[in-house]
Symmetry: none
DNA sequence: GAAAAGAGTTGCATATTGTCCAACGAATAG
DNA sequence: CTATTCGTTGGACAATATGCAACTCTTTTC
């Protein structure tokens, strides 16, 4: 089953190489892609919706929709007609412009009901871990700081004191750095204070350096600071309004010096970005 | 111009007379409707989306989608494939089921942004939250009950399981009480039934008490019933004919006993009233 | 434990259906 | 008034969706 599902999900990423201004020769469509047979008209229809998504409040002209979706005016008109018939798109009586309609809202509400950040982030992390053949964890903010809520074994046998429920240090874990990066001081200050009272002290300068770096790179790393012999790379999962919802971490042994290669990092990051998008983040 | 637009808009309401269980003979399609030439595949595609809209939250089987949309399995599969290719629909790797995907959320949010009430209410709420230095949310009625459509961080750092897309309980949230107060039983009854089946039971007497109170006061409150440690005050945003269009909620920590002082409550209420007036409410 | 039923997926021939071109009416500009 | 642009529509042709049947994999049944 997994094989079937995998092959089918992999056939996904055909990009629209036609940007906006040129009309599509039909040859291109039949030539380049689509190893699996599907309904072209539907995919074109979605292009039309995409064109309607970022348009002024008072609606888009047919002309613009046609351009953005790479269709002729007559073609675009017919697609819009079908969407109007079904209520997905509305045509304003006043100015004749087109805009997403009531049914689009209904679709969105139905889709929203399925949004479950933790589950989605967990799924994405799990598939990355399987691919990279290693182990990782998912965290969210808990009462005492970043808290491990999922621990996913993916091939790398690790024996650590970490488990579901563990609270990670803000100052000494890659996960913690992400919370420092994305959350307000009011939230993190008391936790830091308590960590320092317990003897874990990292200088403000050093923290600031790591925060800046995390913000620039889009991820954070540590080597052996939480569990000796274990290094980690953590990426943020963001929600609407750039709110930090969770973090995904991928672990490895510190011996494997160059475990976190560019392509691997990209894989991890894109998993987090995909999860973020799925829960409403507009990057 | 108006004549043209009118004729074209009038050609809209062709109903789907095929309910759900029968497969459509192609003859019927070409025979009965569609005086204006459009893209059949798109309208069929929307039928598939409609089938996905009212399905269990963990996705629908291909079989059920096919039935509900009146297509054969192979046909339904191809439509779903196209939607999966475009991100409108997602296929769960685990169980192979289909459900509305990330792009559907984007479409819905784009459509929502064009809805005047939502925009106005969101703006008003945002300015109140900034003034009160706290966090709040906007809800509208969705497929499974009151649904969070905006989450506005305004100073109070809160980490909860709540997010854009969360469905709030009717019986246990201040938002829910408002829907019970202003909406018909026909709308709310099935949701309440499902909540009670899931174990969330508040007695009818207690609900009635809260409803009466909400109607008198013009707002509703709860303390820690949705998210432990978090209390909320919600006010209704009404449209023409006293229809409940949305709700605005302001959050605070339960520790801050007297957060909701008279003047603060008045600020929140007047923001909601202003929004209501702006969208046609005649108070 | 093997067979049967059910689910999801795919190939292929056919004709239904979308595409392109051109044209029309209406509005706006020059 | 003429010229241009825009939304819309008709018709011939060819691309494309359809329906059937088969295949794989899973689940159920006996």
């Amino acid at each position: 089953m997994n094989a079937r599902k995998a092959s089918q999900l992999s056939a996904k990423g055909d990009e629209m190489e036609h940007q906006a201004t040129e009309r599509l020769p039909p040859k291109d469509l039949s030539a380049n892609d689509s190893p699996r047979k599907a309904i072209q008209s539907v995919e074109i229809g979605v292009r039309v919706l995409r064109a309607l998504m970022d348009c002024p409040r008072d609606g888009a002209h047919l002309r613009d929709v046609a351009e953005k979706s790479g269709l002729s005016r007559s073609q675009a008109h017919r697609y819009l007609l079908s969407f109007v018939n079904t209520g997905v798109v509305e045509q304003k009586v006043q100015n004749g412009r087109y805009a997403l309609g009531e049914f689009s809202v209904r679709i969105g509400m139905a889709a929203l009901a399925r949004v479950e950040p933790v589950r989605i982030a967990g799924d994405n992390l799990a598939s990355v871990l399987e691919e990279l053949q290693t182990t990782g964890l998912l965290s969210v903010w808990g009462n005492y700081g970043p808290t491990v809520i999922r621990w996913i074994d993916g091939g790398l046998p690790l024996f650590t004191s970490l488990h579901v429920g563990s609270v990670l240090p803000l100052q000494a874990s890659s996960t913690g750095i992400l919370y420092l990066t994305h959350c307000s001081r009011a939230l993190t200050r008391p936790v830091i204070a308590q960590e320092r009272a317990s003897g874990l002290v990292v200088s403000d300068d050093e923290l600031e350096r790591q925060i800046v770096q995390a913000r620039e790179m889009g991820y954070a790393t540590t080597q052996g600071t939480v569990v000796p012999g274990l290094s980690a790379l953590s990426v943020p999962v963001l929600g609407s309004g750039n709110r930090l919802v969770a973090t995904m971490s991928v672990l490895s042994r510190v011996q494997e010096k160059h475990f976190y290669s560019k392509p691997k990092i990209e894989k991890i990051r894109s998993a987090a970005i995909a999860a973020s998008r799925a829960i409403g983040w507009q990057g």
